[in-house]
């Protein structure tokens, strides 16, 4: 089974839906396809579709899936990356009214430099479906979270403690 997800973003991502539909119609994909389509207004014929999934059910489907095809959002990326599952990302673009700006395109470009699979066209999806690969970026983001917490603690906790000691509230 292949899981396709576009997150809970308020903009539709119909381009990806059309790509999936074409791959199903031409029988290039013969596996079962499950789609979490969010706010898309085109749904690929032949796929099992859900608008929004509860986290638990979503995790379940990811576990069952052979491969995940997802939009290039931070939440989705962090989730996929914490699991041992091959995934490929397709970025939403402002040009097609798929997001408010092009940060997903920028992220996809940066991720492609560290060998994360990114699909820029249906052909990339086909190549990936035939030869899935798994790359991890989570170590970087976990390390960033630790660095952030240390910086926040160092910067704010001592000064604010002193302040609250120094100011009499009575």
């Amino acid at each position: 089974m292949i899981l396709v997800t576009v997150g809970t973003e308020q903009y539709p991502f119909n381009r990806l839906m059309s790509w999936i539909e074409v791959l199903l119609q031409t029988e290039i994909i013969q596996e079962e396809i499950v789609v979490q389509y969010g706010n898309c207004t085109i749904l690929p014929a032949g796929a099992r579709v859900y608008r929004f999934l509860k986290e638990e059910k979503f995790q379940d489907l990811i576990n069952q899936a052979r491969i995940v095809i997802a939009h290039c959002g931070e939440g989705t990326l962090l989730l996929l990356d914490s699991l041992n599952k091959p995934y490929i990302l397709v970025s939403r673009s402002q040009k097609f009214q798929e997001h408010i700006d092009d940060h997903q395109v920028e992220l996809a470009l940066a991720l492609s430099q560290i060998n994360v699979p990114i699909a820029w066209c249906p052909g990339d999806l086909v190549r990936f479906i035939n030869a899935p690969k798994q790359v991890s970026v989570s170590d970087v983001s976990k390390a960033s979270a630790i660095a952030l917490c240390n910086s926040l603690e160092k910067r704010f906790a001592p000064t604010l403690k002193e302040l609250s000691v120094g100011i009499s509230r009575s």
Binding site: G75, D101, E106, S141, L152, S164
Partner: protein, 151 residues
Amino acid sequence: MKVLLVCSSGGHFKGLQQLHPFWENHQRVWVTFRTATTEASLTGENVYWAHSPTNRNLPNLFKNLLLAFQVIAKTRPQLILSTGAGVAVPFLIIGKLFGSQIVFVESVTRIHTLSLSARLVLPFLSVLYVQWPQLQTRYPQAELIIPQESL
């Protein structure tokens, strides 16, 4: 220290959750959107639910502005920490007026340009954290998060 944690759902929420080693040591109040995920993760936390969507939605902007005023006047946080996006804007600006320290952590998905919410709150921030050197080059006042492994 009293901390107000404000973010939208999805990746912004995951990002703020990842900062638990910091916020779990402090008295805290959350503001985010009600979804199955946020509701389950925030069981037992002190939460105010914000109005969504916020992109180009004027009624919700006013509702969240009102909510921001109520929450901040009531809780008087010393620090307001946000990972974005739009929902944070009224909270950060009103928080500044109430004398809070204001911190914005730009999403890892921002590489060359700041998000609209970050640009809107930029003048009110105590610190802006960014996660890519390319972005810090463009906004030298921002602090670059350097993961410890690379130090």
